[in-house]
């Protein structure tokens, strides 16, 4: 798993984002360790703001990174990150630990809200100009930088082993943060082909970048 940040963060993140090759959705092994995102979200479901703050500390780098990939604009990324956490707060009671980890849930919300923002705020042309001109201006995490780099390399290696047609689309979708329609337009491919390759790429990656918790 990818590690994000300083101490309480890393342990929780490692455990809070399931996806191991063995029974990835079984959370019992998580419960013995603290801080544990599943326990924290249960407290958040009862309005516990301290628990919410702990979840923020673990998940915020992932959410902010996901949003930044899509939006590229630091100020807008912060706005959307804030929206994501407001949704995590308001929708906490609807979170189902059987369906996803807290981290995956939050990142999924982040992706959706960032894509929505792109659609709402920018014409496609503006977006392309942004892409050409801007990279996120924020610093990479420095805590545990070596571990983070190692995990990043593991993801890179797994992506590199994909068939070229899937690799290109997985990178554009999840590393560059493009919507599937933008990818289709850019590559001159039918939408269905893009969706199919996203699906195929994710399936192929699921063994390779699952676990090591």
């Amino acid at each position: 798993m990818l590690l994000a940040g300083s101490r309480p963060r890393s342990a929780a993140y490692r455990l809070g984002l399931p996806g191991g090759t063995v029974d990835p959705w079984h959370h019992d092994q998580i419960r013995s360790v603290t801080p544990d995102l599943t326990t924290l979200i249960e407290r958040v479901q009862h309005g516990d703001q301290d628990a919410f703050a702990e979840i923020y500390d673990v998940v915020a780098p992932m959410v902010f990174t996901t949003v930044s990939r899509v939006l590229r604009d630091p100020a807008m990324s912060e706005e959307v990150t804030q929206e994501v956490f407001v949704e995590v707060w308001t929708h906490a009671a609807r979170f189902d630990p059987e369906k996803a980890s807290v981290s995956t849930w939050a990142v999924t919300i982040a992706r959706r809200r960032a894509i929505d923002r792109v659609r709402k705020e920018q014409s496609q042309r503006n977006r392309v100009e942004h892409l050409a001109q801007r990279r996120p201006e924020v610093a990479p995490l420095t805590d545990e930088a070596a571990v983070t780099r190692m995990e990043g390399e593991r993801v890179e290696r797994a992506i590199a082993e994909l068939p070229p047609d899937q690799r290109e689309i997985i990178e554009l979708a999840f590393i560059e943060g493009l919507s599937h329609s933008t990818i289709a337009e850019r590559l001159g491919l039918p939408l269905g082909t893009v969706k199919g390759r996203v699906r195929g790429g994710l399936q192929r990656l699921s063994g390779a970048i699952g676990g090591v918790t």
């Binding site: 990818l2 984002l17 399931p18 996806g19 990835p24 959705w25 703050a53 923020y56 915020a60 780098p61 902010f64 990174t65 996901t66 604009d73 912060e78 706005e79 990150t81 804030q82 929206e83 956490f85 407001v86 949704e87 707060w89 308001t90 009671a93 609807r94 189902d96 369906k99 996803a100 980890s101 995956t104 990142v107 999924t108 919300i109 982040a110 992706r111 959706r112 809200r113 705020e121 503006n126 996120p136 201006e137 924020v138 610093a139 990479p140 995490l141 995990e151 990043g152 993801v155 997985i170 999840f174 590393i175 599937h180 969706k195 199919g196 996203v198 699906r199 994710l202 990656l205 699921s206």
Partner: protein, 253 residues
């Protein structure tokens, strides 16, 4: 597995399911016991990819987030217990009530700077003070929060006028507990700028959300707030908004 399920799982991972597709995916999940695991797996891999090489969010964002949730009511658990993984991935549109909130703006000038926790705490205090004002932007076209205010039986309107170059209409409905500001031919703003709404009284200015015109200059923004005892004004601010208005007020009423 079937092609349609694969397609919907791909869209879920991409964050691009619309409301109909969410419903459709929920139905497929309910019908296929292995599908939920497939979806969960895809979302997990997508999350891992997207959060690799993580960036550090600015410290001030933390206090802004914690301040904004402090005043926001949480939703009850899902009424429909049959909704599955797709609902977990893409929470369905909120039907009604004081629930659709966007955060209070964070301080633009401070945003990129790393600040010590004391400064962050100070920011939190400021934001808590204004925490009751939140902007609603609901994404679901079937649940149009703008129209709900404009079409409300008790709607009242004001025209915001000034140096903006066009006028803005402000509509308020007590039944909806919200105001909507609309306008056409609103001048474009730079990438690092935004318009910001304020509710101004003798005791000061309360930020009431930011907005930008779309490509054709159209604006429609809903704010869950009661402007009855306030002058409503618009300023131009750094992207993300400010805690205090940067004068002049471009339009007000």
């Amino acid at each position: 597995m079937n092609d349609r399920l694969d397609e919907l799982i791909a869209l879920a991972a991409l964050g691009e399911l619309d409301a109909d597709e969410t419903t459709e995916l929920d139905a497929l999940l309910a019908a296929d016991p292995t599908a939920a695991g497939e979806l969960a797996d895809a979302l997990d891999v997508a999350a891992t990819l997207q959060s690799s090489d993580p960036l550090e969010p600015p410290p001030a964002l933390r206090s802004a987030v914690l301040a904004s949730i402090a005043s926001i009511e949480q939703l009850p658990p899902q009424a429909d217990a049959t909704t599955g993984g797709a609902a977990a991935a893409t929470p369905p549109p909120v039907p009604s009530g004081p629930v659709s909130h966007d955060p209070v703006p964070i301080d633009g000038a401070r945003r990129r700077r790393r600040v010590v926790s004391m400064l962050a705490a100070a920011a939190a205090v400021v934001l808590i003070a204004i925490g009751g004002i939140v902007v609603a932007t609901r994404d679901d076209p079937g649940d149009d929060p703008i129209a709900a205010v404009l079409d409300a039986d008790d709607v009242t309107t004001r025209t915001l006028d000034g140096s903006l170059g066009t006028t803005l209409e402000m509509a308020y409905s007590a039944d909806e507990g919200a105001m909507v500001v609309t306008g056409d031919d609103v001048p474009a703003v730079g990438d690092d700028e935004t318009y910001q709404l304020w509710m101004v009284s003798e005791s000061g200015s309360v930020p009431a959300g930011t907005f930008r015109p779309d490509a054709s200059g159209h604006v429609a923004v809903r704010v869950d707030a009661d402007p009855s005892d306030f002058v409503v004004g618009v300023t131009l601010e750094p992207s993300g908004g400010s805690e205090q208005p940067t004068l002049p007020m471009l339009a007000s009423a």
